[in-house]
Subunit: 114 residues, 2 copies
């Protein structure tokens, strides 16, 4: 599975968002493959609604994943393979990160020609 | 003012997030200057708490701005200069976008060496 490009198609609110903002360390050190694997794993979980991810040339990235409820978020956080990746993130891949869990209350969009 | 790079330093939750995911059209057409101006304007508003913004080489971008409450978000949405920019976004700069307003309930982070 390749990394999803573009905008997530989510249902009507309410649902939950995990806003994950990070600054990478230098070098890959297996990060690219691991992050693809985490996207693949999360997308297969019960309660997963979508994901949007962007990383800039300066190493700062934002990944927002969308979930049906907080229980689905917690279950994904506790997934053993994900926990191993979280440890790798602190040991190697991230200089800093911030995770915010938020309840999406309203949403609207625009699409050219739609 | 230059575009902020990196992670926003926000207070303890609860507060609000506006998750703005977009896909740009080709070419600049004044977008870069306008987006810098919008960051500058929003950062000066009452209730603004911080902003994180990343755009990838594929034209997909995520900007998350943080706000004290929904009233501050609505006031910024109605700002005349911002409204002009919103019209420009639909007319010229964006192929598609999605805006999600969410209440941040929990947050935690990591910083190397902290």
């Amino acid at each position: 599975m390749s990394m999803p490009a573009g905008l997530a198609h989510t249902p009507e609110p309410p649902y939950y968002a995990v806003i994950f903002t990070s600054r990478r360390t230098a070098g890959d050190h297996g990060y690219d493959a691991l992050s693809r694997r985490m996207v693949e794993l999360s997308a297969g979980r019960d309660g997963f609604l979508g994901l949007e991810t962007v990383r800039g040339a300066d190493g700062v990235g934002i990944t927002v994943s969308y979930w049906r409820d907080e229980a689905a978020i917690l279950a994904w956080k506790r997934d053993p393979e994900h926990q191993l990746a979280q440890r790798g993130g602190r040991a190697t891949w991230y200089d800093a990160y911030e995770i915010r869990i938020a309840r999406v209350e309203r949403a609207y969009g625009f699409a050219r020609g739609a």
